[in-house]
């Protein structure tokens, strides 16, 4: 059996299944495990694997969202983690849980992995909660919220002539229009741009706040082919981080995304799909530049002026349509993989971000077997 078209690692590892919840503003009637469990069942059912047959389980979540300490231990109940399974957790987006699981498979200690992540933002005030991830000496005492920090980045882009308010509005509109075909999305179709939240960002430039979960199954080599008709091979994956302080960085660019993309092999061949974790419309502008996708992002199915030809950017609607914290990055990988599974993509780039103003970025290249 031949491997994927390009292979740079010890083992060929693929995303063989992806599932996600509907992303909703509130899920008061469900505990976290009650929200996550149906997604776990769905993703396992897609592979025919039982929980006990999974080699490694890794999850991503944050206790600060719902204000519950060690909440991930509760959601592990939904996996069936007793007697104890081989398991780990990251206090980050699930894309980084996927990275840990991918490393685990590369070491040969597991052949399959279940990766899931979730965020229940509705119990708290997300903008205030997210200030607590900031440097506690110089930033957190000022309580600059995620919208404010993204707005500083957006204004820097406007000042640099990289975008303007109407271009940002068009990115927002395109994302929600594309999300009309995504039954899990929280915001679909026409959504008014609304008033300024923090100028220059309007309500429409900001992601919806909501609750949701996602899960993927990874498998290595021939097992991946047994579990999935057309596996989405992870032919490259890398993540990089920049200085934390927003005043230490060029906010109009993302060096970490570009370097991660180089190491993941994004630029080695054209991609047809890009799932970008850009919670704010302005951040898509930065990511397009860093990933060489071109285009202003204003046209549906845009990117036609890219050197790589037509790239579908965020055909799922992206994080502007649904942004469950700790899951929205994993969902980018899952959405890109799902397009390969169903034959809508042959080579896709998926991106996840963490921290203020795109501080940390993960880039993965997913490829399907030649048809």
């Amino acid at each position: 059996m031949t491997g994927p078209r390009t292979s740079r690692y010890a083992r060929d590892v693929a995303v063989v299944a992806f599932a996600q919840s509907d992303h909703l503003r509130r899920t008061d009637e469900l505990s976290e495990v009650e929200m996550v469990m149906p997604v776990l069942h769905e993703v396992l059912a897609a592979t025919g694997l039982k929980a006990g047959e999974i080699g490694f389980t890794c999850s991503g979540s944050s206790d600060y969202l719902a204000g519950r300490a060690f909440s991930f231990t509760m959601t592990l109940d939904g996996v069936g983690a007793w007697p104890p399974i081989s398991e780990s957790h990251v206090e980050m987006d699930g894309a980084w849980a996927l990275y840990e699981a991918w490393v685990k498979i590369q070491t040969g200690e597991a052949d399959t992995a279940l990766v899931y992540s979730y965020g229940k933002s509705s119990p708290g005030s997300l903008r205030d909660v997210l200030t607590r991830q900031l440097d506690p000496y110089y930033l957190a005492p000022l309580w600059p919220d995620a919208v404010a920090l993204a707005a500083l980045q957006a204004q820097a882009l406007v000042d640099a002539g990289e975008t303007d308010e109407s271009a940002l509005a068009a990115i927002a509109a395109r994302s929600r229009a594309d999300a009309a075909a995504n039954p899990h999305a929280q915001l679909r179709g026409a959504v008014p741009q609304g008033d300024y939240q923090v100028r220059p960002l309007r309500t429409g430039d900001c992601p919806p706040v909501g609750d949701g979960a996602a899960a993927v199954v990874l498998a290595a080599g021939d097992l991946a082919r047994q579990l999935c008709e057309r596996p989405a091979w992870i032919t490259g994956i890398d993540h990089r981080i920049e200085a934390h302080g927003p005043g230490l960085r060029d906010l109009t660019d993302s060096a970490s995304t570009r370097i991660a993309a180089q190491h993941a092999g994004v630029f080695d061949a054209p991609v047809d799909t890009a799932e970008l974790h850009a919670p704010f419309s302005s951040q898509e502008v930065v990511l397009r530049k860093a990933l060489g996708l071109g285009g202003s992002g204003t046209d549906s199915g845009s990117g036609t002026d890219s050197g790589f030809g037509a790239v579908a950017v965020n055909p799922s609607g992206g994080a502007l349509a649904a942004n469950p914290m700790m899951a929205a990055g994993l969902i980018r990988i899952g959405e890109a993989a799902a397009r390969i599974h169903r034959g809508a993509s042959d080579r896709a780039v998926a991106h996840a971000t963490s921290g203020p103003c795109l501080q940390q970025n993960l880039v993965a290249v997913l490829e399907g077997d030649p048809r």
Binding site: G78, G80, D128, V129, Y138, D159, V198, G245, G247
Partner: protein
């Protein structure tokens, strides 16, 4: 056994407060002490750039950097964002601009608030100066905010500084409070609702048939939802216990007392509760107990002996 019915959503306020006490190193300590003395310090990075606010390690090379310099309290806005609706704890209670300010003599920008009459008064390149807080303690909030200032940039640049001050600040207390509205979810809502009727209701795993009390919504062995409600108890068996000799804060219970694991009849695992109505040194494994409810209590206040003969070890050994 009854089928699950649609839950009424319960809600309760949940406040999380965490006053972290953080120590400051030689660089951050000097910077925050300097703010108290109306002096703004930066640090020279490996490439000679002046970083303000200063860092302890070079942001590019990660080398330790310690060469402090003083920069001006005036500077230039490098980007800004107008905040029409200030949120709790932010530097100003009236509409203001978030700004990144490159202070004169610095090569990087500092985040803070700018007090300006409106967005039309703010632009990138605007000259600003620090407005000092009246009371300063050695914190980033010693800068109350920035305010517009038409004076052009001083040509002096950064000047060397030894970072030494009287009564140097060596730590900060980072206060934070987050307010949540907690909802317990389907399974625990049913449990709490039953408690209000002085009933203890667990849930049975449809796969392995274990009854979980309190239910958490999922069977951790099978990874499936527990859906069938099962009333357990009221009586149960002490499976193991400990004697508490230290009086807990805000708890009006005389020590010593016994805290026990209690397997309620019909439950697949033990819950825990206080044992009363019996001298502490007579509590034993196998003791049969029942809940004691107090007026207005939302859960059993404690458990007391039923007077039945002790349970046989074989009957509860799997529940220890």
């Amino acid at each position: 056994m009854t089928a699950a019915s649609p839950p009424e959503v319960l809600r309760a306020p949940l406040v999380v407060e965490f006053p972290f006490t953080r120590s400051l190193g030689p660089v951050q300590g000097a910077f925050l002490t300097g703010l108290r003395e109306r002096v703004v310090l930066g640090v020279k990075a490996s490439d000679g750039r002046v970083v303000v606010p200063p860092v302890e390690y070079d942001p590019v090379t990660s080398e330790e950097v310690r060469e402090l310099v003083e920069v001006a309290a005036t500077g230039t806005v490098t980007t800004w964002a107008w905040n029409d609706r200030p949120r709790p704890n932010q530097p100003l209670g009236t509409p203001f601009a978030w700004v990144l300010v490159k202070l004169d003599g610095a090569d990087t920008a500092l985040l803070h608030a700018l007090d300006a009459p409106g967005p039309d008064a703010v632009h990138t390149g605007l000259r600003v100066r620090v407005r000092w807080a009246a009371e300063r303690t050695g914190a980033i909030t010693d800068i109350a905010c920035f305010e517009p200032d038409e004076t052009p940039a001083a040509a002096t640049g950064a000047t060397p500084h030894d970072g030494v001050f009287q009564d140097a600040v060596t730590g900060i207390v980072a206060e934070a409070r987050l307010d949540y509205v907690y909802s317990p979810g389907r399974a625990q809502t049913a449990y709490i609702n039953a408690l209000s009727q002085r009933r203890i209701v667990g849930e049975r795993c449809p796969s392995c048939h274990k009854v979980y009390v309190p239910p958490r919504g999922a069977c951790p062995t099978c990874g499936v939802a527990t859906t069938d409600r099962v009333e357990v108890g009221p009586a149960g068996t002490v499976t193991t216990f400990c004697i508490v000799n230290i009086k807990a804060k805000n708890l009006d219970i005389d020590v010593p007392y016994v805290y026990a694991h209690i397997a309620l009849d019909g439950a697949g695992l033990a819950l825990h509760g206080r044992i009363g109505g019996i001298p502490y040194d007579q509590v034993r494994m196998g003791l049969r107990v029942e809940p004691v409810w107090t007026e207005g209590g939302r859960y059993p206040d404690h458990y007391r002996p039923t007077g039945e003969p002790d349970a046989d070890y074989e009957a509860y050994k799997e529940l220890i």
